[in-house]
Symmetry: C2
Subunit: 158 residues, 2 copies
C-alpha cells in the first residue's frame, strides 16, 4: 500500500515515519550517455562503458553501474523521503542488484519503513530502518537495500 | 600484512585471490569542488553542498557524500583488485561510514579476501567475499563494506 507523508521534507521528523508504510518517492531514467559518463569516472567496466563489447555481452548492450543506480535513487531519497534537517546515516545492509538497468528504463523508488525506534542515549533522535527498492517499468526490482538513518524527533520531551 | 597480486588485472582469475591476504589498491583524494558537484547531482544534503551551513555544522565544513567515497573506491577496485574479465556483483553487505571524509584527505583502499569458493552449479566461476576498507591519512577507517564478486576460474577442469 502506498502512503503519502503528512509533512513536506523540510518539516518532517521521526514521528512522521509510519512502520509498515510504503512511500513512492518518484521516478528517474538514466540515459546511455549518462551511464557511460558516470562509469568512465567511477566504474569503468566493459558492460558500462563500451557499446560494442557490451552489445555482444550477456546483457545485449550497455547497463548502468550499480553505483549509478544507487546514486540516482539517493537523490530521490533526499528529495522525497529523508527530512531536510537530517543527521548522519550510519550504514546500509543487504545491498542487492537482482536485475540489470538498461538505458532509459523508467525506475521508481519505493521506501518501506521497517523499524522506527527512539534512541535511548540521545532523546532528540530516532533510528529508521527502511527497505528501499528501485523497480523498473515492469515492476521488477532492479536494486534493493536497507539503510539506517538517524532522524530528529519533533517532540523530544514526549 | 599487505600482499601483491601475482597477476595483473587483465590476467587475473579466481585462483589469484588468497584468503586472508590484504591488497592495498591505491589512494585518492576528493576535492571540495568535486564533493559539491557530485552531491549537487546525487545527494544534495547541506553538509555536502553548502559551505556556509556546513561550516557551522557538526563537521566544521563540507564532507563528502558517502556515495561519492564509495564510487571513488569502486574505481580503485576496478583498476587494481577485480579481474578485467569480471562477472556480475550480486551485492554488498554491511556498508558503513564510521567517520566523515573531508576535502583533500588522502584515502587508501585496502581489500582483504575473507572467503573464496567455487560455484557448485557453474564450474567456470567462483565467489569472492571481500572486506573493503577506505582509510584516511591517519589510518582511520572512513568506509567499509563487504562485497560479493563472481570471478572466472582460470582452470575450470581442476
Amino acid at each position: 500500500m502506498s502512503e503519502v507523508f503528512s509533512t513536506p521534507p523540510q518539516d518532517r521528523f521521526f514521528e512522521d515515519y509510519v512502520v509498515g508504510a510504503t512511500y513512492v518517492c518518484g521516478s528517474f531514467k538514466l540515459s546511455e550517455d549518462e551511464i557511460i559518463a558516470f562509469a568512465s569516472r567511477y566504474d569503468p567496466q566493459m558492460m558500462h562503458i563500451d557499446r560494442d563489447l557490451a552489445a555482444s555481452g550477456p546483457f545485449g548492450g550497455i547497463i548502468a553501474s550499480g553505483w549509478h543506480t544507487i546514486a540516482a535513487a539517493m537523490r530521490l531519497m533526499v528529495d522525497n523521503f529523508l527530512p531536510h534537517n537530517g543527521l548522519a546515516a550510519p550504514g546500509i545492509d543487504e545491498l542487492r542488484w537482482p536485475r540489470p538497468v538498461h538505458p532509459d528504463e523508467v525506475l521508481t523508488l519505493h521506501a518501506t519503513v521497517q523499524e522506527a525506534r527512539r534512541s535511548r542515549s540521545k532523546p532528540d533522535r530516532g533510528l529508521i530502518r527502511t527497505l528501499l527498492e528501485v523497480l523498473n517499468q515492469n515492476g521488477e526490482v532492479v536494486m534493493s537495500m536497507k539503510p539506517l538513518n538517524m532522524v530528529r524527533v519533533r517532540n523530544p520531551e514526549i
